[in-house]
């Protein structure tokens, strides 16, 4: 099976010491435009997975391929979002969103000439996540949820074909989180980038993803895989339908199994 992101028996060890083995025999494939969620017990190497796929850490063994090409160094187009908003406090929300355009080719070469067009695009994105009117605010003038929305816009502004999300909704309260799930779904439906979402919220995984991968305890590898067959756009209430509840329970079983084995 070929896909946009392919991991073939990947291992990652941070140092020579075997105790720092974070991934072992990890294999999976993500199709172009697919939304995949990765869940697992805490400390199972989910965040490490993000680093390996983006090439920020070279794999110790095995092969990572993105768009058919083996990954040997940091990729140069991936949008990323983390649990912390990681916005630049000296830039306004709009300027924060514009940051990738100053770096990614070919946008960085065109930015000076077509600034107005790019700015309009960034404003559009901010409007889409409900931040119209907040473009000129600084991060510390925004609530946690607003900062997180801004971060999502920053991850998407250069229209990346691959989006890596590392628990971007993890630090938010339940209502804000659900609101952002909807925003995320809208953003994804617009351009259909390939998304890998790391999360420990099973409802979140089931609501957003086409497919959910379950990782084992450290060293992490994929131990189960579930399709989520639900038409889009999905409504929040759908996560309470019996079929979805059963899926969440099923995933939870796998994760507690993995934790028990580790203990």
């Amino acid at each position: 099976m070929t896909g946009y992101v392919q991991l073939d028996r990947v291992a990652l060890r941070y140092t020579e010491d075997a105790s720092t083995l974070a991934l072992y025999q990890t294999s999976f494939t993500v199709g172009q435009g697919e939304f995949v969620a990765v869940v697992g017990p805490s400390g199972c190497g989910k965040s490490t997975l993000m680093k390996v796929v983006t090439g920020l850490w070279p794999a110790t063994a095995g092969q990572v391929k993105v768009n058919g090409n083996p990954v040997s160094g940091p990729l140069n187009f991936v949008g990323m979002a983390f649990q912390n908003p990681t916005l630049l406090p000296w830039r306004t929300a709009l300027d924060n969103v514009m940051l990738p355009l100053e770096i990614v080719k070919p946008h960085c070469d065109r930015l000076a000439r077509e600034r107005a067009a790019y700015e309009a695009k960034a404003r559009d994105l901010l409007t889409l996540v409900g931040l119209a009117g907040f473009e000129k605010r600084y991060p510390w003038e925004l609530s946690g949820g607003m900062q997180q929305r801004t971060q999502l816009c920053r991850a998407l502004v250069h229209e990346p074909s691959l989006l890596m999300l590392d628990e971007p909704f993890g630090a938010l309260d339940m209502f804000t989180r659900e609101e952002l799930w909807l925003a995320m779904q809208d953003l994804w439906l617009r351009r259909r980038p390939t998304v890998i979402l790391v999360t420990h919220d099973l409802r979140e995984a089931v609501f957003l993803a086409d497919r959910v991968l379950v990782m084992s305890a450290r060293p992490g590898r994929i131990i189960a895989e579930r399709e989520v067959n639900l038409p889009r756009p999905r409504a929040l209430a759908s996560t309470y339908e019996p079929e979805m509840v059963a899926l969440v329970h099923d995933l939870r079983e796998h994760i507690s199994g993995a934790r028990a084995k580790a203990a």
């Binding site: 140069n76 949008g79 990323m80 983390f82 912390n84 990681t86 009117g133 600084y138």
Partner: protein, 277 residues
Amino acid sequence: MATTETFELPAVARPKRLLDRKPVRRALPWIVTLAMFLLWEGAVRLFAIPQFVLPAPSAIFASLWEWHGPILENSWQTLMTTLVGFAIAIVFGLAGGVALGSSAVLYEAFYPALIGFNSIPKVAVIPILVIWFGIGTVPAIITAFLISFFPILVNVATGIATVEPELRDVLRALGASKRQVIMKIGLPRAMPYFFASLKIAMTVAFVGSIVAETVAANKGIGHLMLVASSRFEMPLAFAGLIVTGIMGVGMYVITAALERRMTGWATRGGDGVTFAA
């Protein structure tokens, strides 16, 4: 998200205490300084302290006026010497800070040597500088530089080395070069540290140049004070101190104003802790 509703609110009148009023706050430093001089004057008169031990402020200001020509000339010399040394310190401090802050290898290699170097009292170096460059302006400039570049370097390095790893990942996954990461995140992030260090570096640069002038120079405030005290002209020596203090405060105010313009984000638009507020 944007609300279109408008709300009618009654104006809230909060009684303001005297110390909360802006003109009062502005005048406060002047009042304190004036009070200190008055206290000093009173003490000297009350205890009849001889002028060659501690001159009264009135005598100092009289001497300041009497000698204003030489004082102006010598303080100009000191100011220029200090500023040149300080400017070189900024260049080397920034460059060194960026280099050490962005490379763990360079940091480990150079830091012990820098600490060792900084532990040397700069006064001890002045005689060597005199042998190399002769008596005059150059040893004073170099002393001002040597004494003030270390705090700048350490602070800039700290600001750059403590960039959040996630933030660096965001940029690197977009294909940013090391230079871009420094320019887009490292340097702006180091600016509050840089300005904090400038305030320290500025004042110690004056220490450096004046000490050098006292040891080996024929111009400058340090030299003037040395000559004045050798002639028991205590009011003139004290006038030199006061002029130095004024120059120090002046430079500090300029630095603080620059800091507010450039790093307002770090104090969230507020004034931060400055004497110039």
